[in-house]
């Protein structure tokens, strides 16, 4: 097997037995990036020197007898996570030359664990989008079909894993931005419970919804990554001070007991969503049947406020964004327009030249929803609907362990198909954003392909802090499905 094909757990064995070095692995992936990324364009920055230096350090630790799960493993990071000394652009022209002076907590954690950072991946500008077409620099292509989007906003992170340009990656998920691109690229993505992973050093889009999580080749690797990422951080006041289990024990639990005793709820409202693609529907129902053969009891449940989730989300997220993005004013960091002679004029010119259309549209929508006379009708009402959505989930989880659904209504769409119609694009988030609204964890695991060969993901959601149920359930489905075609065929020249 080629080095770039290795999962984290495969690479771990070879590194520990000294059959390969971290430098071998990193070199192979850099070569892969060189061969593929001109077409895929998953990366904004590739840090060759930093990666080789990191790999050498990891090899020294390995030589000294150390073995920890991520030691020497090459990862790619969504370019929304601050990396000390390495440009962090948020895929925005406004931060094109921004070099953070500190690491995000997750970056510190993976560096301490010995992981090697290959580079920073593309996204919709400030994570605002579902296709990575809103990047201020370039679009990213789906490795399965180059004329399709990889999903978004963590499209670069998902495409890089699918194209085997990194062993695993980190994404962020505000309304589905890990799970939807994972689904569209045929890889595994977890959005942890709100508060599980520190957001310190993550450039905020919508602070009450954002969460960092892993994108990996398989479920085992996601469990390994979760172990490294989770934990309380005093620098993030919303970080939860709760015990972190060893998530890989959920894999052993599946091997011992299958999925016996597990109950899965299917929200009836999800399956009556307009525009549900027949291939997605079939792959979903086939996967549900398979779960039943593994011992899962499947029942219909109700999430009555589903129909209002997208509307509430597109008030709350832009409202928070309009506040969070006020900091990019050309004073302390980032781009500044130098033509303005007065301060307010400088703010305006800086922002409008620095931000792309979608970011400006969301700032305007959010400012409108928060402005005098509209605050109660929009923001106030949306936050109340949000609490009703959370109550829907609490009631549902009284009778089931996981809730299952498709990840997105359709497989990846064609590049350019939805760019002029923001509302249609927003509606594609229908299955994923409720978990962000309720602060719950969710996973996307591959469950098949469309007739045209595009991957389709299966979503599982669980109660707060019950990622163990997601890992166990998704691992069960992955093992039972044993998809023959896990990754896109890509010639070496691609």
């Amino acid at each position: 097997m080629e080095f770039h094909e290795l999962t984290i757990s495969d690479a771990r064995k070879l590194l520990d037995t000294k059959e390969i070095s971290s430098v071998d692995l990193v070199t192979a992936l850099l070569k892969r990036i060189d061969a593929c990324d001109a077409d895929i364009k998953a990366f904004i920055t590739v840090d060759e020197k930093g990666a080789i230096d990191g790999a050498k350090k990891a090899d020294e630790r390995l030589a000294a007898g150390e073995s920890t799960p991520l030691l020497g493993i090459p990862l790619a990071l969504k370019d929304l996570l601050c990396t000390r000394g390495l440009a962090t652009t948020c895929a925005s022209k406004i931060l094109e030359n921004f070099v953070p002076q500190y690491d995000a907590t997750v970056v510190t954690k993976i560096k301490d664990a010995g992981a090697v950072i290959l580079g920073k991946t593309n996204l919709d500008e400030f994570a605002m989008g579902s296709s990575t077409e809103n990047s201020g620099f370039h679009i990213t292509r789906n490795p399965w079909h180059l004329d399709h989007v990889p999903g978004g906003s963590s499209g670069g992170s998902a495409a890089a894993v699918a194209a085997r340009m990194c062993t695993a990656s980190l994404g962020t998920d505000t309304g589905g931005s890990i799970r939807q691109p994972a689904s569209h690229c045929g890889v595994v993505g977890i959005k942890p419970t709100y508060g599980r992973v520190s957001r310190f050093g993550l450039v905020s889009y919508a602070s009450s919804l954002d969460q960092i999580g892993p994108i990996t080749r398989d479920v085992r690797d996601s469990a390994i990554m979760l172990n490294a990422l989770c934990g309380h951080d005093p620098r993030d006041t919303t970080s939860a001070n709760v015990d972190v289990p060893d998530f890989t024990t959920a894999l052993a639990q599946y091997q011992a007991d299958g999925l016996k005793g597990m109950t899965a709820g299917i929200p009836k409202e999800f399956l009556s969503v307009k525009g549900l693609d027949p291939d997605v529907e079939k792959a979903f129902h086939d996967a549900v049947k398979l779960l039943e053969t593994l011992g899962v009891e499947v029942k219909e449940i109700s999430l009555p406020h589903t129909d209002y989730a997208v509307a509430a989300y597109y008030v709350i997220a832009p409202s928070e964004a309009s506040s969070n993005l006020a900091r990019f004013d050309g004073v302390r960091f980032g781009y500044r327009d130098t033509n303005a002679t007065e301060l307010i004029d400088m703010y305006k010119k800086t922002k409008s030249k620095g931000f792309g259309d979608e970011v400006q549209r969301r700032i305007i929508t959010g400012t409108y929803a928060l402005s005098a006379g509209y605050y109660d009708a929009y923001y106030g009402q949306a936050t109340k609907v949000r609490s009703l959505i959370r109550e829907d989930f609490s009631r549902a989880f009284a009778s089931c362990d996981i809730i299952v659904s498709p990840v997105a209504p359709t497989p990846a769409f064609k590049i350019g198909e939805n760019v002029d119609d923001p509302l249609t694009m927003y509606l594609t988030d229908i299955f994923t954003l409720s978990t962000n609204m309720a602060g719950l964890p969710g996973i996307s695991v591959p469950c098949g392909h469309s007739k045209t060969g595009l991957p389709i993901g299966f979503q599982m959601m669980a109660s707060r802090f019950d990622e163990m149920a997601l890992v166990r359930g998704a691992y069960g489905l992955e093992q039972a499905l044993d998809l023959k075609k896990r990754f896109p065929e890509m010639s070496d020249s691609l």
Binding site: T238, D307, D329, G330, L343, I364
Partner: protein
Amino acid sequence: MKVTRKDIEYIAHLSRLEVDDTLVDKFADQVSRILQYIDKLKDVDVSGAELMSGASMDHNVFREDIPHTPPGPDITLANAPEREDDFYIVPKAVG
């Protein structure tokens, strides 16, 4: 809710944006359609529902008020577009 060209210009000012003239009508149309969709929230009976402005509102978070060493101007101002000594330079703020 129908948003006019004037509304966009006013909101853009509040947001400290200078929306390109060619984009104002497009934004007015797109934001109108987004708000028309969002208007469905008015159909929800929210009587008794609490305001949920965060995902984890169970308790407030406090910490001891212990002074820390600040990072200092070299780090704080490292990304400043324009600086003089340990200060940010900005255009004229008062007319």
